[in-house]
């Protein structure tokens, strides 16, 4: 299963060489997330409306290797925007992917941009 995790690598904005046009803005709940498919990747995209920001992470929860993060709840943990996994409420920073309430491996995070009411996720390959 760890094979799956290897497909997800944090991508910095400066390394983006392809912006994937994912879905219209209104396909995502306000202050919540949904999942998109890009090639053979599952990416969770979150519309953090209260911060007026968008975030993208792997959909895979590193604890049990299940594709569930997009179905979790977002919010903040001591000021850090975070996603709580729906299975066991492990929380991860949406900014860095770091596990905030345990010592799990970080999740991969990706840059997001909005253009003409469309959501784009940035990849390096």
């Amino acid at each position: 299963m760890e094979e799956v995790q290897k497909k997800y690598k944090t991508t910095k904005l400066k390394d983006v060489n392809f912006w994937f046009k994912a879905a219209p803005v209104n396909a995502f709940p306000k202050d919540g997330g949904a999942c998109i498919k890009y090639k053979n990747l599952q990416i969770a995209v979150f519309n953090f409306e209260r911060l007026n920001k968008w975030y993208a992470t792997q959909n895979l929860s590193p604890e049990k290797q299940e594709m569930v993060l997009s179905r979790g709840m977002i919010g903040d943990y001591k000021g850090t925007p975070m996603i709580a996994c729906p299975l066991h409420k492990k929380t991860f920073s949406l900014e860095t992917g770091e596990n905030l309430n345990g010592d799990l491996d970080p999740i991969a995070v990706y840059p997001v941009k909005i253009e003409n009411d469309f959501v784009y996720v940035g990849f390096s390959e």
Binding site: N40, R71, G72, G75
Partner: protein, 837 residues
């Protein structure tokens, strides 16, 4: 590799294992443990709790697997019968032989039964093991069947005897305590405090007989009475002997270890017996010519033996603290240090108020500077602090009377927990110091009481130190600038009850309104969002389709998420009644979508393995066949379990199925702090297990008995009687009020049982509120409930008829495909998710 054999798997024997495996170097030893009892070591100190729930597991110190995981071989149900010191072998009753390098004797003690004529009669018990208690329970039940006002006596008015007295009282027998000495708890109390205690115990229904020497137990086969003198006797139907303990030293005697004159295996301050490879610890060990009948010194001895075997030098201290606090009996009694002190050593200060059954005595050194000991009866709240002052030799106020005088009468609240020195031992059972407790908080390892207990084990022994551990935790958190409040999370300085009122009064409809107006400036989290969602649902009679991004994951998708991210589907089957046609429909739908199918513990049918994309399609079909959401995913009504009742059953007193269905349909869909379950039984045989539910009904002559606050789960609890012989209409009225009152005031995720337990004033208060309307709120409660009942709507029907709501049920928003990460494996003709690695 060397072998250690531990004989005896009681509290101290277990502690030896626990301390041993935690040490470096222990991996070089093989540990073999023999226990005579049929189960692994359990918490004897809390033995009396077995009467409440008969749950032996709950008393277990560690499950069998623990021993395995720690490479300890545990052999229970096998007594060691001989020790062969020359060949370093032991033999068991099954005639098996084992070699040892070191032997640890932790055989404890047994109850001492004085040689009174007739003690072997039926109905005479001792109070030491779970089996003893099981025997007592069975005997008491038989007695009560024959004789509703049966009597039981306890021989011995010491610490344990009083505990046993309370136990027989709780079994519904008329309790008598028979003591040889002229006072109760002769070892711990002086005469005056003993008198105060006696008055108090009599006031709660215990009969006390002092200065009684029992000559004979009367009766043919079974006990019928006790004879003290010629015309002096007491009729009793059962007797519990609690006259002290005798060390189980027979093994030591037979292999010629040095023994005490009155028994016990002699040990030095390394816990070694006269054979340096044989250690003795716990209640079998005679140290300083004493057997210490308490668990804390035993635990210390276990630690010393572990260190000695591993080559570390540590020694048992000369002085051993014998302070004790009586538990469970409904009256506070404690004694510490030197309870009775000769006048030549110091002065005593005594406060007594018999009208309130209060007695406090402290003994102060002649120079007035230190506390030497004391006794507390009736109110032992100051025990922990006084005990600490005594143990740590802390300075006391110039007027020591302040330590025990009631506040306002010259008494001052003296002794802040934070004043204790770091070395102060807070939990003597687990040897945890103040420094350790504060340390785990300061280092960030622990952020609340539960963490502290988890990291340090403080409070997991006799539990006597819990209040102090709590105070220390709170004070330390406070000193770090962390506020300890009963708030729901970091985003609100409010608890659920405050939020309830605010949302109700302000009429908020959106999470952000609540957060912006009453939050701390953050953005919410997985704790506060579902709480607000649930409150909105209760207050505005909304379904979970409202603002789905703040719903807990299960509520958001109206289904229970499973291990692999697929979902289960549980349609409502009210009262468990289902037509063959509907049963067939369920079967066909399950087959069509290849869903794993099973009957749940709530007696309805669960279909597992539906993907997010499949949920609405399957529900559409179920709804077409007349099903609706079962709310298995919500903190809401689950099932009202029924037995078949007078519809078919030859014993049925009423239509439990019809009433169960009516109740399930009434409360379906409402959101509460936690899930709610009901049960309706047609007679006292109780086949619906109604007393294990949040609300339960049992049909009796003349109506229904209504019970509330039952719970399964990790802390099972029987529901308590709220009202007797009431009709259907009154039942509904009372349940409406009860549930609504719970929904208004409970904490998040607090089941009715836990809520009811912590309700100040207890059941009496609850009855006053619900039946007598003490708070003048029952009309409101009923009205609010009726609004919820009237506005019920099946949220699945609502969702599939609304295209906007349907958008959430797809795995990808940019593709029709399903989750490609799912792997199922076959299982007994069905399927299941691939196991987690």
């Amino acid at each position: 590799m060397k072998t250690i054999i531990v004989i005896g798997n009681g509290m101290v024997g277990y502690k030896f294992c626990e301390k041993f495996v935690a040490k470096k170097g222990s991996e070089n030893y093989k540990v073999l443990v023999f226990g005579e009892e049929p189960r692994p070591a359990y918490d004897r100190v809390h033995l009396s709790e077995y009467f409440e729930n008969q749950d032996a597991k709950a008393l277990e110190l560690a499950p069998k697997e623990w021993y395995k995981e720690n490479n300890i071989e545990l052999i229970v149900n096998e007594r060691v019968s001989d020790i062969h010191r020359a060949s370093k072998k032991i033999t068991t009753v099954k005639d098996r032989k084992f070699s040892y390098d070191y032997l640890v004797l932790a055989t404890g003690s047994s109850a001492f039964v004085p040689p009174i004529k007739g003690v072997e009669k039926e109905g005479v018990f001792v109070y030491r093991t779970i089996e003893d208690l099981e025997g007592m329970l069975a005997y008491a039940a038989k007695l009560k069947d024959k004789k509703p006002n049966a009597k039981a006596a306890v021989l011995g008015g010491g610490l344990l005897g009083l505990e046993a007295g309370k136990a027989v009282m709780d079994m519904g027998l008329e309790p008598h305590i028979v003591e040889f000495a002229p006072k109760l708890m002769p070892r711990q109390l002086d005469s005056r405090s003993s008198q105060v205690l006696q008055l108090k115990l009599e006031s709660i229904g215990l009969n006390i007989h002092l200065s009684k020497a029992t000559n004979q137990i009367l009766g043919e086969k079974a006990i019928t009475g006790m004879e003290f003198g010629e015309d002096d006797m007491l009729e009793v139907d059962m007797l519990v002997v609690s006259a002290g303990i005798r060390p189980r030293d027979e093994l030591g005697k037979s292999c010629n270890l040095e023994m005490g004159v009155r028994g016990g295996i002699v040990v030095n301050n390394k816990m070694q017996t006269s054979d340096k490879d044989i250690y003795a610890i716990g209640e079998v060990a005679l140290y300083n010519q004493m057997i210490y009948g308490l668990v804390a010194p035993g635990y210390d001895m276990a630690g010393i033996a572990v260190n000695q075997i591993l080559g570390e030098d540590s020694l048992m201290p000369e002085e051993i603290d014998m302070s004790t606090k009586l538990k469970l009996i409904g009256v506070d009694v404690a004694s510490f240090g030197e309870p009775f002190m000769p006048a030549s050593k110091g002065h005593s200060i005594i406060f007594e108020n018999k009208t309130q059954y209060l007695y406090k005595r402290i003994n102060v050194s002649l120079d007035g500077k230190s506390l030497l000991g004391g006794i507390l009866v009736g109110d032992a709240t100051d025990y922990s602090m006084l005990h600490q002052i005594y143990l740590n030799g802390m300075t006391i106020p110039e007027d020591p009377a302040q330590l025990i005088l009631p506040a306002g009468e010259g008494g001052a609240s003296f002794g802040d927990v934070m004043d204790l020195p770091d070395e102060a031992q807070i939990c003597s059972c687990e040897s945890v110091t103040k420094g350790q407790i504060c340390g785990v908080i300061e280092s960030g390892e622990a952020t609340d009481l539960a963490d502290v207990v988890g990291c340090t084990k403080a409070g997991t022994g006799c539990g006597g130190c819990k209040p102090m551990v709590k105070d220390l935790t709170e004070a330390t958190l406070k000193s770090l600038g962390i506020e300890v409040k009963d708030t729901i999370c970091e985003h609100f300085d409010l608890n659920r009850q405050d939020l309830y009122k605010i949302i109700q009064v302000k009429g908020y409809k959106k999470f952000n309104e609540v957060l912006d107006n009453h939050g701390n400036g953050g953005h919410g989290c997985e704790l506060c969002k579902p709480v607000v969602a649930s409150l909105m649902a209760t207050i505005n009679a909304d379904t979970a389709n409202e603002e789905y991004a703040i719903q807990d994951s299960n509520d958001r998708f109206l289904a229970n998420i499973q291990r692999n991210g697929t979902y289960s589907i549980v349609p409502r089957i009210p009262g468990g009644e289902i037509t063959p046609d509907k049963l067939i429909a369920l079967g066909e739908i399950a087959k069509k979508y290849d869903l794993y199918t099973k009957v749940t513990g709530g007696v309805r049918i669960d279909l597992f393995g539906a993907t997010l994309n499949q949920l609405p399609i399957i529900w559409k079909e179920l709804i077409e066949h007349g099903f609706e959401s079962g709310h298995a995913y919500g903190k809401s009504l689950r099932t009202v379990k029924t037995c078949v009742g007078s519809t078919w059953c030859r014993y049925g007193m009423d239509e439990s199925v019809s009433f169960g269905i009516e109740l399930e349909n009434r409360y379906r869909g409402i959101r509460a702090p936690h899930k709610i379950k009901g049960g309706v039984s047609g007679c006292i045989r109780e086949c619906a297990e109604a007393r294990g539910k949040d609300f339960g009904l049992i049909a009796v002559e003349g109506g229904w008995n209504l019970y509330v606050g039952g719970n399964g789960g990790a802390t099972p609890r029987h529901a308590e009687l709220l009202a007797e012989q009431i009709d259907n209409e009154t039942v509904i009225k009372y349940i409406d009020r009860y549930l609504m009152f719970y929904m208004r005031t409970a904490k998040p995720l607090q089941r009715t049982a836990a809520w009811q337990d912590r309700l100040e004033g207890g059941m009496d208060f609850l009855k006053e509120v619900i039946i007598e309307d003490k708070l003048g709120i029952v009309d409101d409660l009923e009205k609010e409930m009726q609004t919820l009942v009237n506005k019920f709507e099946c949220e699945w029907t609502q969702a599939i008829n609304n295209p906007e709501m349907m958008k959430r049920f797809s795995h990808f928003v940019n593709s029709e495909e399903e989750d490609d990460n799912l792997v199922f494996v076959p299982m007994r003709e069905q399927k299941m998710p691939e196991p987690w690695k």
